[in-house]
């Protein structure tokens, strides 16, 4: 690991994540108030979306963008499908569908961390990657809920009751109107409409102080991960391996696709990080309602307590090293 990478890891926000882990493990009573943590996540989604919209308004629709978004859509459909088939061998269909949705979708905070990392490396990327983030969020949820519904109707045919069936329309509505998701979409659109003049007025809020707010959010995430990993019981190595191996496989898949589509280094890196990331805000909130049969401590715990820290601490620098080699 060279000097610039080392310096990248000593980013204060990432160190506060480590510190949160430490505080959680020594059972400190340190905690970020609930509503502040929720607001910080809304703030981060808003600023991602808004900045993405603004860049979009500057570049317009380009070939590079069309390619990147096509690659994102492919990943968004293929990952949850293969993850479900893999999980189905060991788990009941509800847990399998829920975990597949989690890993098929993406993590906005992992994305922000990757963007900050790229900026420190001085590598450019397209503002439309925020659009890729938005596009990759929902398909996994929808596929998972459809699968769960199929399972439920089969058990009805087999003599069960249909009580549990959640209509597809209702779930599409849930997935689309989920607060976090909708805020991202809305901010993207507003960023696109208001463009650079709007951004100038908002910049002190969405750019200058972002690092400080991200720091508190990552501190809270560190605390949560520590608390969660104490409770997490994965019953054997399968799920533990899954939570590391599948992100890596997705990263490899995304990198290959990016190479095949001829994306630039920055875009390829962000696509790789998105594919490797697992959702722990939007998807759990929707799935808890849409697939209540699934065990939240599994899908939420794996994503938050294993995959998120793996990506933040090891994944991001490693993916970057490898991609720089391949693109170099």
């Amino acid at each position: 690991m060279d000097a610039s990478l080392l310096q990248a890891i000593v980013d204060p926000a990432i160190l506060f994540f480590f510190f949160g882990l430490f505080a959680g493990f020594v059972r400190s009573n340190l905690s970020i108030p609930e509503q502040i943590a929720k607001f910080l996540s809304l703030y981060l989604l808003m600023s991602i979306g808004y900045k993405g919209g603004v860049s979009l308004s500057q570049t317009g629709l380009t070939a590079q963008m069309a390619l990147a978004l096509t690659a994102a859509m492919i990943l968004a459909f293929v990952i949850p499908a293969y993850a479900f088939m893999l999980l189905r061998r060991r788990l009941n269909p509800f847990d399998a569908a829920a975990i597949a949705a989690t890993y098929g979708s993406v993590s906005a905070v992992t994305f922000i961390t990757a963007v900050a990392f790229l900026e420190r490396q001085g590598v450019s990327f397209g503002g439309y990657m925020a659009v890729a983030l938005v596009l990759m969020e929902s398909p996994a949820i929808i596929m998972a809920v459809l699968l769960a519904n199929v399972v439920r109707s089969r058990s009805v045919v087999a003599g069960g009751t249909a009580d549990g069936n959640v209509s597809v329309g209702k779930v599409l509505h849930e997935a689309f109107t989920d607060g976090a998701h909708l805020l991202l979409l809305g901010s993207l659109l507003i960023g696109y409409i208001t463009g650079l003049p709007g951004k100038a007025a908002l910049d002190p809020f969405i750019t200058s102080i972002q690092k400080g707010l991200l720091l508190f959010f990552l501190l809270e995430m560190g605390l949560l991960v520590a608390r969660r990993s104490r409770d997490l019981k994965l019953d054997g190595p399968f799920l533990a391996v899954f939570a590391i191996a599948v992100p890596i496989a997705n990263a490899v898949f995304a990198t290959a696709l990016a190479k095949a589509f001829g994306l630039g280094l920055g875009d390829a890196f962000l696509l790789t990080v998105l594919a490797a990331s697992a959702s722990y805000i939007v998807v759990p909130a929707v799935v808890r309602y849409a697939i209540p049969e699934a065990n939240a401590s599994l899908y939420f715990g794996m994503s938050l307590a294993v995959t998120f820290p793996f990506n933040i601490l090891l994944g991001i620098p490693t993916y970057f090293l490898v991609l720089r080699q391949l693109w170099g």
Binding site: L40, G164, A296
Partner: protein
């Protein structure tokens, strides 16, 4: 006057469908406390997955139907409820 109080612990994500269910029974009053940790020892406070406490006060006469519906709801989506009878002020 005679009244019943029902207290419900569920995941935050379920508050909207739950209050829609409650509204159909027109209880005298209810309040929702969101962003909590604890339910079922699985509760985890996170920007995406916290728990909620809903406290409902209604006339004892209407509590039976409400509890039947709640039972179906909570068995379907998870969560716990608790009902007691007591004395109410302005509960009619």
């Amino acid at each position: 006057m005679s009244a019943t109080r029902v207290e419900i612990m569920v995941g935050d994500a379920l508050v909207t469908p739950l209050t829609e269910l409650l509204d159909r029974h027109a209880p005298a009053a209810y309040v929702v406390v969101e962003g909590l940790s604890g339910v079922n020892r699985r509760g985890v406070s996170s920007p995406g997955l916290a728990d909620a406490l809903v406290v409902v006060v209604c006339r004892s006469a209407t509590s039976k139907a409400l509890l039947d519906n709640l039972k179906a709801f909570l068995s379907r989506y998870g969560g716990v409820a608790f009902a007691t009878d007591g004395f109410g002020v302005n509960v009619d």
